[in-house]
């Protein structure tokens, strides 16, 4: 498998620069694109999905240049942030139709079964899409994206609106897919990236501010995350920026984000969430 190369991608919508000179190498496996709302993630995903063209820059995967949309579309499977299509059609009929739209040979019952098994929808094959739950529709969305075994799967906000159980199931599906494809996941939910990706990039206000492995990104907040043991009834929210707290017996352990060491606190390795917060705070315009 090859790298997906983005070179100096910019996008301007009526004088508003939404993406600014993004250069990024996306390796095979699962790759996260993190950033707050309005960072330009969805625009970048749509450019990668060939729905819109960049104002400048180029995208390449091996010898395929994204300016040749037909060739690029043979490589990609795309699931947008919200997905609700073909409500009156049964799951397997819709997948057969989508295979036809992707100019693939007619889906056999066996290959249909394999796709539906991958997304755990085999029991819903004969149900109309309009009768499926939100989580099942997301999984149908993934099913349509993986028809034809695309080398690049682009998923925008994959777990938005899903309940915890469905979220876990969906992450598992994405992890499995990343064994044979490049899976690009855009989200502002850090846990999704931690659970599925080995590397990620951060976008803030249309600019790429950081990219690397998950641990590298987390390390950016090294020396700024502390743990402090306090009594159960003590609140430090006014004094320190408490990220989380957990009860241990009759004590509480606070996780604090601070540039300086709080008294009696010990330095701890930062999580991706803390790296994310550090980056967004220090890069907001």
């Amino acid at each position: 498998m090859q790298n997906l190369e983005l070179k100096q991608i910019s996008k301007v919508f009526s004088k508003n620069k939404v993406l600014d000179d993004i250069t990024l190498t996306i390796p095979p496996g699962s790759f996260g694109l993190l950033g707050p709302n309005g960072a330009g993630k969805t625009t970048l995903m749509r450019i990668l999905a060939t729905l819109i063209e960049p104002s400048s820059g180029k995208i390449e995967y091996g010898t395929v240049d994204w300016r040749q949309k037909g060739n690029a579309r043979q490589l990609i499977g795309y699931l947008p942030q919200k997905f609700s299509m073909y409500k009156h059609i049964k799951v397997k009929e819709a997948l057969k139709h989508i295979a036809d739209l992707k100019n693939l040979p007619t889906l056999t019952e066996q290959s249909l079964k394999e796709i539906l098994n991958k997304v755990n929808l085999h029991e819903q094959a004969d149900k109309k899409i309009g009768t499926l739950s939100g989580g099942m529709i997301r999984r149908f969305g993934i099913a349509q994206a993986i028809i034809g075994e695309p080398r690049i799967i682009i998923v925008d906000e994959p777990t938005a609106g899903l309940d915890p159980e469905e979220r876990i199931r969906f992450r598992k599906v994405l992890r499995n897919l990343s064994q044979n494809s490049t899976v690009l996941i855009s989200t502002h939910i850090v846990e999704d990236i931690e659970a599925t990706c080995s590397a990620a990039a951060f976008l803030v206000d249309g600019q790429l501010v950081r990219s690397g492995s998950i641990s590298e990104i987390a390390r950016i907040a090294e020396g700024k995350v502390w743990e402090l043991e306090v009594g159960a009834g003590v609140f430090y929210e006014d004094q320190w920026e408490v990220m989380s707290s957990r009860a241990v017996g009759d004590k509480k352990i606070l996780r604090i984000f601070s540039e300086t060491q709080p008294p009696n606190a010990i330095s701890v390795p930062p999580s991706l969430q803390e790296g994310y917060l550090y980056i967004t705070r220090n890069n907001s315009r």
């Binding site: 919200k82 997905f83 739209l101």
Partner: protein, 214 residues
């Protein structure tokens, strides 16, 4: 074969909306058969209902693509935007022409009285205009409901005012007898040209579409 299969899928994807123009056609036919001899009212009924409902299919074949969230997915498949847009509109317009022809055929077979020729041509050209208007509106508004409402408002306004307010925007003839060629030809050419402009404008808008419903 592939086009037929895709058209059948588009038909089923519309759900009950696919059947509305057929039901309207049956209503027009039933009325025409019951009002035998009443040429004026039959012509009015046909002119008001038949062309307007050609917009129905050209709007609702875009429900999954432009109205529903996630319709953008279809633009990521290896399909040209012409195939997604204009081609499908023209296929469903041809089906609508077939429907009009069938209604007129059944009418002429039962009542031995036909509306072939100029009346049929008039209905087809007016239908093309409404198909194009529906396509244009649904691309512009990205909402089937709003596209239908604007179409219905246009029809209601013209019918209620008998085309007397803003006559330049009126495509109806309101004949009291079967029209002859010279009576309608020049206006039909204008309607056809406006229809074609709407069709191609809508297609250009779809070719350049960058904002999708979320």
């Amino acid at each position: 074969m592939r086009t037929i299969q895709r058209t059948l899928f588009d038909w089923r994807a519309m759900g009950w909306n696919a059947y509305i123009p057929l039901v309207t056609g049956l209503v027009v036919l039933a009325y025409s058969l019951l009002a035998k001899g009443e040429e004026r009212s039959i012509l009015s009924m046909m002119e008001i209902l038949l062309p307007a409902f050609s917009a129905w299919w050209s709007i609702f074949i875009f429900q999954d693509i432009l109205d529903e969230p996630g319709g953008e997915t279809l633009f990521s498949y290896p399909q040209s935007r012409w195939a997604i847009g204009l081609k499908r509109v023209l296929i469903f317009f041809m089906l609508y022409v077939l429907l009009i022809t069938l209604i007129l055929l059944v009418y002429s077979l039962i009542l031995k009285h036909s509306f072939w020729g100029v009346t049929e041509l008039q209905l087809i050209v007016q239908s093309l205009f409404f198909s194009a208007l529906g396509y244009f509106l649904v691309v512009l508004l990205k909402s089937c409901s709003w596209a239908m409402l604007v179409t219905a408002a246009y029809v209601s306004f013209q019918v209620l005012t008998r085309g007397s307010v803003f006559p330049w925007s009126n495509l109806y003839f309101f004949h009291i007898h079967r029209p002859s060629g010279p009576e309608v030809l020049s206006k039909l050419v204008v309607i056809l040209v406006v229809g074609l402009i709407l069709l191609f404008s809508a297609q250009l808008a779809i070719n350049r579409l960058e904002k999708f419903n979320e």
